[in-house]
Symmetry: C3
Subunit: 249 residues, 3 copies
């Protein structure tokens, strides 16, 4: 197994943060096309699937191996560089370490035995009837609004008026945030859809999104929601999936 | 009872913050002239009296009713809007709820039975011999200075030299902050006056004042102090009263 | 004993902060040439020696006495002024207090009996073979790097290539930050030197250094390190000394 690569710190961070939002350790597949990572959180509620295109790298050499990483430590090392600084990664298979260089800084990161890391989940192929496109900012605002009254959040799409709603019901107070057709980047709602989710998980998922990032929300009724977006000039593709809570909760 | 009104978020916040500095729940009187709120803190030490002029509203319709509100929740909702955004408030008497709208956000706030809220205090009509006018900044600086050595603060006005002093005595160290006539916006001291106050209460009272706000301090000897200021282009009139501590404390 | 002086707040703060980083109380020698302070931390690991030149003062009158001060309180008072504001200090020997004035603010600081303050240490005269000059920023970055993996930090100078290294060994990961000759302001390494130090102490020592401050590092092998720098246009001269940890620790 061989791997060596050079990439801007910011791009690698963009690829890791949606994963780190859900887990502390992960396997990274080092393929010809780039890096690919897929994880599910310990409670089996939230998934993230990230691919980082080999075209994002200044230099890239991989032969299809898989390595196990502590994301906390890797993220801490990357924080030592600026977004535009180049980080070089070189696998030392003999010592089971990843040699990381940012300018004069050398960091030797011990790899984790991939057998001890939770298995990568399958991402189910769902046929979801509503597709809403809005910004990361919109999702943040909706989460903040729901958080005023509840720790659950309902996402709802209306096929009649092509509207999207973020709703929450508290013990005494309720919130309803409406996005009309003109507030959305795009809406394609084949049939009315509404599902309830844990607010904390959605917060975790939304934190790596940039404010201006275009996010596609794929929604059904009492079905998982899928969130799709890309970062770093589309070099990083992210897909999140979050299981619904039962409405009577 | 009917009430519906539209007002900039920042103006309503300005009217609520001097009240929220002392209590979590309050009654709001919905009169022809605007909103009026008067509260005393649970320990009966500090009072606030706020009136919000009907002229501050984009539209205003009230018939003299009284509603009970949780200030924490209302403040949280207002934080979802920018200062210049318009918030619309509509009383739904049937459900005992206040419907609040800021752009696409709808929030249904459950009212509190006014019988369960502490009675509004009378603001005693005191004849105080010293009247000092300075800025919110000056008061903040004096509080910070007194806080260096004590949790009590003495406010003192000298009729001889028309000076104002903020003083504090610690176990080992003392502070004396002098405002000469030229440092004050105005001073009218008929007889020397000095009273001691709890620093924490004065901190709470001063936090809603803006830095540049003109504040009138009315002072006597071992008497309550009155603080008067206005916010939002004089649409919000605030009067605070704070009971003195005994000097031998 | 008489002492009265006027000095910009920022200059006095610069002189006190390297001392306050190690201790809460100190003796200040009030000599003809200015103020001089020398302290060792309670564990006898770290020393600081500061001199503040009488030329830094607007006016300065001292006759060689020694006063004892609580640095926390004096620092708090100075925080009430801006860096450029003048602070006046006047010793009142009768009351054993220091009268401090910043604009309209008067603060009476009780002195501490110098007999109750830990004795001033001797600064040993060491012959250290390596002298590295770099910026406060460089030291901060090295501390941050070492902190990723350990609570110890190794400083090392190589006489062959005139390089400086900051290294740390963690349980699984290692860090090595290299400063080549071109990264350093100057290097004069007579023989290779390396010593290990407690990261916390070095953090404390580095916090009063400015980012752009030129810092001389004098290093030996399993010997104390000396750090020298000046602040406030060279009016404040600082020398730190830190005892090494044993490598096998």
């Amino acid at each position: 197994m061989s791997f060596s690569a050079i990439i801007p710190v910011g791009t690698l961070s963009d690829a890791l943060s949606p994963i780190h939002a859900l887990v502390d350790e992960c396997k990274i597949r080092l393929t010809d096309d780039g890096l690919s990572i897929r994880v599910v959180d310990p409670a089996n509620v939230a998934m993230a699937d990230v691919s980082l295109d080999s075209a994002a790298f200044e230099s890239y050499d991989a032969d299809g191996g898989v390595i196990g990483l502590n994301l906390e430590r890797l993220t801490d090392v990357l924080s030592m560089g600026g977004k535009g600084d180049l980080v070089s990664l070189t696998l030392n298979e003999e010592t089971s370490k990843l040699d990381i260089h940012i300018d004069g800084l050398s960091y030797t990161l011990a790899l984790i035995d991939t057998d001890t890391i939770r298995q990568e989940p399958d991402l189910p192929d769902l046929d979801l009837p509503a597709r809403i496109v809005l910004t990361g900012d919109d999702i943040d605002y909706g989460i903040k609004a729901a958080d005023l009254v509840s720790d659950h959040i309902s996402l709802a799409a209306d096929d009649d008026v092509q509207e999207f709603h973020i709703r929450a019901e508290g013990d005494t107070d309720d919130v309803d945030l409406a996005f009309g057709n003109e507030d959305l980047l795009s809406a394609s709602v084949d049939s009315t859809a509404e599902s309830l989710f844990s607010l904390d998980y959605l917060k975790d998922m939304s934190s790596p999104m940039g404010n201006d990032t275009t996010v596609s929300v794929l929604l059904g009724t009492e079905f998982p929601v899928k969130l799709r977006y890309s970062l770093s000039n589309d070099h990083v593709e992210v897909q999140n999936m979050l299981a619904p809570r039962i409405q009577s909760d």
